[in-house]
C-alpha cells in the first residue's frame, strides 16, 4: 500500500468522509529539507465529513493529526489539510 493509500484508508475508517482526496505532492518538494529520494513525504488532503460540523479549524486539523500520528511521526513531513463539514463550501484558491 502506498502512503497515500494508507492515509486514505485510515481517514475513511475513522471519519467516514463523504468526500476525500489525498494527493502526494512529494515531487514538488524533491531535494529540499524533509524530502526523501523515494518520496512520500508531502501530502495534500481535502476531506468532507460530518464529524467536523461544529468544530473549529484547530480541532479539525488535530483530529486528522491524531488519526495520522504514526505517519506524521514516520515519513510524512508535510500535510496540507482542508477539512470541511458537508454543508460548507470549499475554500477559495
Amino acid at each position: 500500500m502506498t502512503m497515500a493509500e494508507t492515509i486514505h484508508s485510515k481517514l475513511t475508517v475513522a471519519l467516514a468522509p463523504t468526500a476525500l482526496r489525498v494527493v502526494d505532492e512529494s515531487h514538488r518538494h524533491a531535494g529540499h529539507a524533509g524530502a526523501r529520494p523515494d518520496g512520500e513525504t508531502h501530502f495534500r488532503l481535502t476531506i468532507v465529513a460530518a464529524a467536523f460540523a461544529g468544530k473549529s479549524r484547530l480541532e479539525r486539523h488535530r483530529m486528522v493529526h491524531t488519526i495520522l500520528a504514526a505517519e506524521l511521526a514516520d515519513r510524512v513531513h508535510a500535510l496540507s489539510v482542508s477539512a470541511l463539514a458537508p454543508d460548507e463550501p470549499a475554500a477559495g484558491p
Binding site: A33, R62, A91
Partner: protein, 111 residues
Amino acid sequence: MNDNPVFTRIQQEIDDNPVVLFMKGSPMFPQCGFSAAVVQTLTHMGVKFKGIDVLTDPGLREGIKQFSNWPTIPQLYVKGEFIGGCDIVREMYASGELQKVMQDKDVALAR
C-alpha cells in the same frame, strides 16, 4: 509539560512578542514554501512579527511541536494564542477572520 526547558523559552517568546511565527528559515530567507506563504500573508497585512528559525535549534524544532500539540512547521502565535499552521492562516486570511483576530487582539496593522 514544564520539564522541558525549551518550553520556558517558547513561552517567553510568545509572552514578549505580540505576533510570533515559528518557521523554517528567516522572514527574509524562508527555507520552506509553507513558512514563506505565512510570511507573505503577514507582510501583506502589514503585521509586525518575530520570526523564529527552528532550523537553527533541533531542540526548539521538536519542542514547539510538543508545546503546541501540532506536528508541523510553521506555527503562528498571536498574543500568546496558537492560531495554526499554513493552511489555517491561509483560510483565515481569505475569509477575513485573520484580520479580525489581529484587530480584536489590538495588533497594529501597518496599513
